[in-house]
Symmetry: C2
Subunit: 183 residues, 2 copies
Amino acid sequence: MSDDHLHIPVDAAFSRRVPIHDDRERLVCDSCEYVIYENPKIVVGVVATWQGKILLVKRAIEPRKGFWTLPAGYLELNESAEDGACREAWEEARAKLVINQVMAVYSIPRISQIQIIYRAALTTPDIGPGPESQEVGLFTWQDIPWDQIAFPSVHWALRQYDQIKNQKAFPSFTNPTGEGEVI
Amino acid sequence: MSDDHLHIPVDAAFSRRVPIHDDRERLVCDSCEYVIYENPKIVVGVVATWQGKILLVKRAIEPRKGFWTLPAGYLELNESAEDGACREAWEEARAKLVINQVMAVYSIPRISQIQIIYRAALTTPDIGPGPESQEVGLFTWQDIPWDQIAFPSVHWALRQYDQIKNQKAFPSFTNPTGEGEVI
Ligand SMILES: [Zn+2]
Ligand SMILES: [Zn+2]
């Protein structure tokens, strides 16, 4: 499986067909047989806190515009997962933070998505909405807008964070049992 | 960002250009402006043991043909990370196993790769080479072929596994400090 996907010529055209030596339809270059593999996507995000309060952002874009979520987004090419999580926290909440440890690895196979969520600490309470956020806030547990949460995995991460918030180190979580769980 | 990449028409042709409302070159459908995002890839793998011995496979394919590695490979579409890790262990080593917990999440940004490694237990010592393996084996620590290991991250995973092999639960690892580490 080639890792040369950054070297596709600018004028290449691709068609969906079964490449040589393969058994599935792929996106194949019409002139050189280069194959683009369609892969699951990686979302990186954080449960980040300041003095026990949890950072949430209100989405300014679809899907789930107007609902609250954790800072998270797609990992980019040539980016570490930790860098991606920090970048998203900056882009969405103008938050600066220090990653503490992997909090959870979730699988959402229906949409071919893996979510890697870190526990993190804000280094300053100065936050503000980025272009994809309507609003940002630091919430105590009881002030979290539970009926306006954007995605099920945000519920998972918040509940799991609450279990380990006072632990110095902890085994990372996966999908809660019964919710898209596989093991 | 669309998740409709499974619905690309069979006859679509794609060119590399800057799509509407974007600022980077992407692969864009010539007829409908559908964008294929090129994303980092997810590798899923296991440190799997039977009575304290670690499962390794000798690669029958490039890169690093003839070198030893942990069962691991690219996550497929619509697959959970745990299912993918078990599938790779079956494909490469005919191994049946039970996932225990996330052992490590590594970032290899140079090749846009995230590796999710689980600790696992073989449910039977019956193993054998799959089509992409020359050989498989269960190794004690001192019998591991240390000078014939395929990739740096296999060294990372083996060393980190050794640190936690007697622990019931443990915080998951990331890249070892100084080796592509970012935090
Ligand atoms: Zn080509
Ligand atoms: Zn189209």
